[in-house]
């Protein structure tokens, strides 16, 4: 496992060219490899596991009957098949969206209120830990986001259109930064997301612990901050735009191995 991650880290940095850049890249790869042991994401996973089995909310219930797509209570392998269509809500839902549904139906929480709460605060912090736990239960599994339902295919097409949507004060789209191989912002490697970026890169690396600010970020938070830097207005938490992008990236990443929860700079 550890060895595999080291290789991934090297692969991610080999794009930098030139002799000086090579030694920088090798150094950074060494640094990333050293970080793999003892990823603080495990603290959030632990918290999430406890939240999953603890009776909470107005209904004082656990989430152990939550259906993440593979039947009530099945957590292992659920993450790599999300987002997917759920008949009970009639919606395509990603991990965070589905957890919100379970928190509402099983535990009696107000999901709209949680969605509007600031990230890292209150029940949002609990949702973050739950998402980290669920993702960790698909570690090293390969993405297989379903496209069998019409609404799942619709969301892929919508996600694709959103990915290429140039707008805002800087005319940026997702594609501006994530459309071409081997590109960087400053020294930061950019994964290509319009095709399969490979094992443990892009969609297959989130949720991730970010060492820079000591925060655990889910994919919803990752997309939220992308849109902030894109100078767009804010996407609703677990709204259709972010879920559609999740479908687009997840389907593109078919077969890629999940390393979530990962650790990032």
């Amino acid at each position: 496992m550890k060895k595999h991650l080291v290789l991934l880290a090297f692969a991610a940095t080999t794009a930098v060219s030139g002799a000086k850049a090579d030694s920088i890249a090798a150094g950074i790869a060494e640094y990333r490899a050293m970080l793999q042991d003892g990823n603080p994401a495990e603290l959030f996973e632990m918290s999430g596991e406890e939240l999953w089995t603890t009776p909470r909310g107005p209904k004082n219930a656990t989430l152990e009957k939550c259906d993440l797509g593979k039947g009530p209570g099945v957590v292992a392998g659920a993450f790599v098949e999300l987002p997917r269509y759920f008949a009970d809500t009639g919606r395509v839902q990603d991990l965070e969206s589905r957890l919100l549904t379970c928190m509402e139906t099983l535990q009696g929480f107000d999901s709209d209120k949680i969605a509007k709460t600031s990230y890292n605060k209150g029940e949002q912090a609990n949702l973050r830990d739950l998402a980290t736990y669920v993702a960790g239960q698909s570690r090293e599994l390969r993405f297989n986001v379903p496209q069998g339902h019409e609404k799942e295919r619709d969301m892929y097409e919508v996600g694709k259109r959103l990915f290429y949507l140039r707008s805002g004060t800087h005319d940026f789209s997702c594609n501006t930064c994530h459309g071409e191989k081997g590109k960087r912002i400053r020294l930061q490697d950019l994964p290509v997301l319009s095709s399969n970026p490979g094992d443990g890169i892009g969609f297959a690396a989130w949720p991730a612990y970010r060492v820079g600010n000591g925060q655990m970020w889910t994919m919803q938070k990752r997309l939220n901050d992308c849109y902030r830097q894109q100078r767009f207005p804010e996407p609703d938490f677990a709204g259709d735009a972010t879920i559609a992008l999740g479908v687009y990236m997840g389907v593109n990443a078919k077969g890629a191995m999940s390393i979530a929860p990962a650790i990032k700079r």
Partner: protein, 103 residues
């Protein structure tokens, strides 16, 4: 009171390796908050590990230890099922002790 630690203790070849993650902000006291006020230092000052009641490591830390600290060390002996206790206390008087069985 702090959040639970993540502790793993594994015995092999007559030694036990302990790896721990502690949930703590390790605030350095140099940063400012949104309104420009200095965020006061908040950090773990002392760590102690015991194996079956015997101290196997003591540490003193500064604010320079990273947020959500990681610690790894190894001691002689230890058998599967033995108890490892890890404790920390911080500069605000908060403390936490967690226990794990050696695997």
């Amino acid at each position: 009171m702090g959040k639970p630690m993540r502790i793993r203790a594994k015995a092999s070849n007559g030694k036990t390796n302990v790896r721990a993650l502690m949930a703590h902000p390790m605030e350095g006291g140099q940063r400012k908050d949104g309104s420009g006020n200095l965020i006061p230092a908040h950090f773990i000052t002392d760590v102690e590990a015991t194996h079956n009641g015997k101290t196997v490591l003591k540490a003193q830390w500064s604010t320079a230890v990273s947020q959500n600290p990681y610690l790894s060390f190894t001691f002689d002996g230890g058998a599967a099922g033995d108890k490892i206790l890890l404790s920390w206390k911080d500069n605000k008087g908060d403390s936490r002790t967690d226990e794990v069985a050696i695997k």
